[in-house]
Symmetry: C2
Subunit: 118 residues, 2 copies
DNA sequence: TTGACGTATTCCCATATCGACATGTAAGCT
DNA sequence: AGCTTACATGTCGATATGGGAATACGTCAA
């Protein structure tokens, strides 16, 4: 048995620095592959492969535009990581206890809102 | 070139599910290796190796107690991940905009407070 | 059609991984 | 001393990786 596939989940996909960079760029909005290639200074095939991984874990979406592919960020896929990390917040900041309550408070003020669908 | 070493950073270390489990258990407090072995149902050598990786990225600390080694969580090492993920929060919840302001507010109300104890 | 462009896919290879098993080492007990 | 317990480390093998280079598409322009 070897290491888990990078496409197993967001944790594995994002372990690769280049892939993180790609996502960072995409925060700025939809981008065609070529733009990513230039921004990252990587070879096009490499970028395409990284994008494939990100696609497979759902971290990005593609849209066809002629012969170009526009990639867009889909942060939803990163949410599990963020949620997982929350249980450790206390470890580096006790004051987050207070924050927790602020959050709960906010959530209760907007019941039925998008917070928990799907 | 192959995949980056698991000891490169927290991102890589935590990509492994077992390692995540270990950290989850340690949230409950210091534990000797053997307890982790039982809880995770893994072979002892495997656990020790995973702990080594977690140690190298600073996610856990060890303390010697006779012939036992007590491992303790050090969430500090996971903070960079959490921080990195923050830039994507907006992507899955617009309402975090408001939260951002609440946070800033809290920080300003407690200048010089525990925020940076270390 | 021919050709250029934008991407995706395939092949090759050096490397690091994780689990299983064996061994090493230090601490504690009798 | 000898034995056992608690961990750590080493070796082996199967596997997936990520970059490079080549190639296969699909689309648009002449």
């Amino acid at each position: 048995m070897a290491r888990a596939a990078t496409t197993t989940d967001a944790f594995n996909a994002v372990a690769e620095p280049r892939r993180r960079e790609i996502l960072e760029v995409l925060v700025g909005g939809e981008q065609p592959v070529n733009d990513l290639v230039r921004r990252l200074g990587l070879a096009q095939p490499q970028v395409s492969k990284h994008l494939r991984v990100l696609r497979e874990v759902g971290a990005v979406d593609v849209r066809e535009d002629g012969r170009r592919r526009l990639y867009r960020l889909n942060g939803e896929a990163l949410r599990p990581m963020h949620d997982w990390l929350r249980q450790f917040e206390r470890s580096w900041s006790e004051r987050f206890d207070a924050l927790d309550r602020v959050l709960d408070d906010l959530k209760q003020k907007e019941p039925g809102d998008g917070a928990g669908d799907e």
